[in-house]
Amino acid sequence: MNIFYDAATKVQSQSIIDWKAAGKPVVGYTCSYTPAEIFYAADILPVRLRGIETEGMEVGDTYFGPFICSFPKCILQLAGKGKFDFLDGAIITPGCDGMRRLDECWRKAGEDFQGIVPGYFYYFDVPHKAENHGMAWYIDEIRLLIKSIEDHFKVNVTDKKLTAAIKEFNKGRRLLKELEDLRSGDDVVVSGTEAFAATVAGTVMPRDEYTAELKKWISSLKKKKKSLSEDKKRLMVVGSVSDEIDLFQLIENTGKAIVVAENLCFGIRYEGNEVKEDGDPVEALAQHYLGSSVCPRMYGKYKERVNTLKERIDYSKVDGVVMQNIRFCDLHGAENALFARDLDKIGIPSLRVEREYGPHIDAGRMKLRINAFLEQISGKQQMKKTAERKAAVSA
């Protein structure tokens, strides 16, 4: 577990240091619509960019305006402070508006702070729709990206290597699915914090190492008997981008809840399905990444998302859903409102919170809301039990 924890809580984790020491390149990317398999195939370490470990926002605020989500600002802050100096490249994606402006802001910051823009800096144009021409565009974009990586890093990304990469990544996907299965049982042997750390680690660790470690860890979990879920509310966390282990810790530290599921970017949101291992690998990747419409940036696909959410809630036997959104995140903020409305209709309680991204900010306020939410859920269940008892007695 420690290796995952290290990877999930440090910007420059040991496995990144080791990789660099072997003289191999590292490329950062900002959004889960970037097929990381491509880099694996090029023997480049893909690292999802994050905003943890920020202190202050003087660089972020210099370039971004005041009404922007703190996540991309934190990334810029870290870049400005040289914390991403280990990057040989960065891929910027128009995930949301805040994120896509990271392109300009980072480059402009590079004019003021020497050496903070990686030598390879690429804008990867992901469309907002997956139908016909959208998919075709995305496939072209992937091919262009591959070409550009080949040119810059002097590598050769063949279909064969891509297929191998897909297979390797799929192993991890299957393992994460196993982890999900473990957490869906009545007796959960793994805390949400640990599980999330393991998932986040997958976005920053070398994949072979990750798969091996994950496999070991999961088989050790399978031997565990001690239930962590007894007398606890089973929660799910959804909403804005998050890689904050603290958030999960805060929830579980109440002692009254266990997080059994999440649907977060950085989490398992993406890992649900496997990528097709036969046929054209680029098309298979495109179908997987663009086709699943898991993020509200894919407009008009709300119904698919709410259905997935309901299935997950059912599957993981969730008692309540924590819906968080980072301030100025319109996409998740609005979608959370719709989720809350639709879950309400089927009797699933939810809690909406708006917050700042970043370590420990507003922990007190967050704690209060979580606690009240847990009390709300137990009251509800209490009532259900009483009603059942009464019904049983009268029958």
Binding site: R327, D344, P349, R352, V353, E354, R355, D362, G364, R365, L368, R369, N371, A372, E375, Q376, G379, K380, Q382, M383
Partner: protein, 264 residues
């Protein structure tokens, strides 16, 4: 003899309530001290004095409020949202929606017949929808928060506060004072600004049934009456006790349930 207590340590005030057989026999509201522990001790002591009993007579105490984790003497802690729901139900049995505005934040709570929370929303974006906003403004006007509410009743043409940031709004208020606007019109403008922010939060919960306000701001008639206008419904008055102690009452009631063994 079942004597129980509830202690609500808020950011501005700390409250304690002592109950015997479901009746309040002692209560207190004090200004919070820098250390929550000291606030709790002082509030409880003052309530004990009010009830004329000693601490050993109390069977169970539940703590709540923003400083709840730091209270020395409690048996258990419960969030203030749950406590305000419970307390409100006791204050007015028909209530279904509770608006609690304290010093730190503003919450709207929907409750069922048991006083159990069904749903809630809380504002945490900015200090401008909280009691603290009113405190800051009262200080600028050189009056007490108690008097701020009444100003609305005498206002002729309330000012409009453009800024939502408490600190900027303060500057706006100073400007109005300097340009000779009457203190009534300024006060009313402040109360209205506050009510307007709260109304959005309340409406987002789709309130239904009888509405009761708890927390210190419930005593501000200006905010309450503007809120009534904005929501288009009457807000019920708590007659059984001071709405500011609703949280402490709720905590005491939960203590009672505990000693009665009603809930696990």
């Amino acid at each position: 003899m079942k004597i129980v207590a509830g202690c609500d340590v808020g950011s501005l005030t700390s409250k304690a309530v002592i109950m015997r057989d479901g009746k309040i026999i002692g209560a207190s509201i004090i200004r919070s001290k820098p250390r929550p522990k000291d606030s709790a001790d002082a509030a409880l002591e003052s309530a004990l004095k009010d009830a004329g009993i000693s601490k050993d007579d109390i069977g169970y105490i539940i703590g709540t409020g923003y400083g709840r984790d730091k209270i020395g003497f409690v048996d258990e802690v419960v969030s203030e949202i749950t406590c305000h729901g419970k307390g409100a139900r006791w204050l007015l049995p028909s209530v279904e929606t509770v608006i609690d505005i304290g010093g730190q934040d503003c919450k709207t709570v929907k409750i069922d017949a048991d006083g159990q929370v069904v749903k809630f929303t809380a504002n945490d974006k900015c200090a401008s929808g909280t009691g603290r906003f009113l405190e800051v403004m009262a200080k600028v006007l050189g009056i007490s928060v108690d008097d701020l509410g009444k100003l609305s009743l005498k206002a002729k043409s309330p000012i409009t506060l453009a800024s939502t940031c408490t600190v900027w709004a303060q500057a706006d208020v100073i400007k109005y004072i300097n340009s000779g606007v009457s203190i009534e019109d300024i006060g009313a403008g402040i109360n209205t600004a506050m009510a307007a922010r709260v109304a959005i939060l309340v409406n987002s919960l789709k309130p239904k049934g009888d509405i009761l306000m708890t927390g210190g701001v419930a005593k501000n008639v200006g905010v309450v009456s503007t809120l009534e206008k904005l929501l288009g419904v009457k807000i019920k008055k708590a007659r059984k006790a001071d709405p500011q102690i609703a949280g402490a009452i709720g905590a005491a009631l939960l203590s009672l349930e505990k000693v009665n063994g009603k809930k696990s």
